[in-house]
Subunit: 324 residues, 2 copies
């Protein structure tokens, strides 16, 4: 029997799982990243979680066939070097080769949004689709592309930056240097910021009452709660975000004509309202044929998305009889 390890490395936690070739989880563990202790401490911590999941399942570490690691930030998936991960304080960190030296096992590294796409394609909402676009809408907006059954990484491993497609050239400036990027208009942070602006101008009572009258504590969740409670201003903020998401998704449909769009992340998981609104707005802006080809569906893997993607990366392409 072949064993594989997936590691979902985030700014706050390391989530590691051991699985078989079908992606069935045999054991898993979640520990704080403790990035403040430095790069070496983090890779040792990753190594110890791998030993731990193997111990839990009574599998010798030497029997693991490959390890997949999902890491934040721009990285080179061929060399395993993480170029920049501000939330870990890393720059040009040779994560893949350092873990290989430590563990004496093959290590594959890719970025978290790509692996979320891969995880949903292999084990989640995208099973059986040859092409899919994965979009995550949470604090920021990211994405990954599966084209012809493979992760599409682009010439500089930078494909899938859906959050930085421009949907309103007169929109607010973005940290990337452009303006009107989807992320500045429809992410969780954007929704919270727009609510705070509304409150600062004297509106948004129905949102503010859901906090201790503290505008700084207003988040996208507050806005969604207020909208669910019937607050018209909150609903308007969400409709505006949904309109921009619809434009961004329509642009992708018109460009790539995928059969499936998988939507994940905290904002999309806030309830059925946002998905319905986004579907309607996408239809408004997409070509009829492109919209007709595509199903827009919620992601299925929830908090295990990155882990399952890291496992899919480790397992590689299904081959042979009985491959899933």
């Amino acid at each position: 029997m072949a064993y594989y390890v997936g590691v979902d490395l985030g700014g706050t936690k390391i989530y590691t799982g051991l699985a078989d070739a079908q992606g069935r989880i045999l054991s898993e563990i979640k520990v704080p990243t403790a990035a403040e202790n430095g790069y070496i401490a983090v890779i040792r911590r990753i190594a110890s979680t791998i030993e731990e999941v193997c111990n839990q399942a009574d599998v010798p570490v030497t029997e693991v066939s490959a390890i997949g690691v999902g890491a934040p930030g721009p990285l080179n998936s061929e060399t395993g070097v993480v170029h920049q991960a501000p939330n870990l304080g890393w720059e040009n960190a040779p994560l893949g080769s350092d873990l290989e030296k430590l563990l004496h096992l093959p290590v594959l590294v890719d970025n978290d949004a790509n692996l979320a796409a891969l995880g949903e394609h292999r084990f989640g909402a995208g099973r059986g689709a040859s092409d899919l676009v994965f979009i995550t809408v949470s604090t920021g907006i990211g994405g990954g592309l599966i084209l012809n059954n493979s992760l599409y990484r682009g010439a500089g491993f930078a494909a899938g930056e859906i959050g930085h497609t421009v949907v309103d050239p007169d929109g607010p400036p973005c940290s990337c240097g452009s303006r009107g990027c989807l992320e500045t208009l429809a992410s969780g942070s954007a929704i919270a910021r727009q609510a705070q602006t509304l409150i600062a101008s004297g509106g948004g009572r129905g949102i503010l009452v859901r906090t201790a009258e503290a505008p700084d504590e207003v988040t996208a969740v507050t806005v969604f709660d207020a909208a669910a409670g019937g607050d018209a201003e909150a609903l308007h903020l969400i409709q505006t975000a949904a309109r921009y998401l619809g434009i961004g998704i329509a642009n992708i449909l018109n460009l790539l004509n995928p059969s499936l769009v998988v939507l994940g992340g905290g904002v999309m998981e806030s309830g059925p309202l946002i998905l319905d609104l986004v579907r309607g707005e996408t239809r408004n802006y997409a070509l009829k044929e492109a919209y007709a080809s595509a199903r827009l569906v919620p992601a299925e893997l929830g908090e295990r998305m990155g882990l399952m993607g890291a496992l899919a990366l480790a397992i590689g392409k299904p081959t042979g009889i009985g491959a899933t």
Copy 2:
């Protein structure tokens, strides 16, 4: 020796060429489409051009290995059915199978923008690139995608509709039902329309004097000529179009991170001004890494683009020793 035929079927002309497996043209012919005579007349006319190019090169038609045909409009490249070609007056025309019956040879059909991409990839500005985005800016705006060395057609054969990506949600309505599509803001027709609007409001003297004072005769060419002559209003119109092209291209770079963008069509061939402006605007809106990965270059095949693409389709993937 293997022979292949390419047919570039347009609303006004049929351009047919015979070539060897390396795409070297042995003979070619151009005749009017005469679409007004009906579908059957057009396919007979295509067949006679094929006989003619074979006769010219003294090659028996029976020695042709395959025929590639580029046709306008949405079509199914698997069945060879052209769904809609308003400029030919066709609806659901089984072009591929009808030509096969007439010629007793394998016929492959694809749309003109896809084949322009394929032609530039195989024989033009995209030689050697594994991925490229082709964009044509003329009366309308279209495009085609080569991903992993293959034409990427999408789930409904509708990929590459770059002209219908939204670059300004408050922009003018588009014939597709959306608004602010790139085509409504940066195509040759859009530039001409904006110049006419400017003239109607009392401006644009420097443009109008280049026609017989007839606003209806103002085209994108008039505007480019005026700009080249130093007219500030004309230059402003072109800068505006270039800005929207830059946004549209930046969105594609951020989404796909290609190594190459090939720009063709009448507007892009108007002179060096537009390419320089488009490069600058793309840089303004693209992620730094995505812009750094990509070269933006002019198309090389000119009026032979569609024909060479049709030949590339007929020839298929290069294989074996000595393959180009």
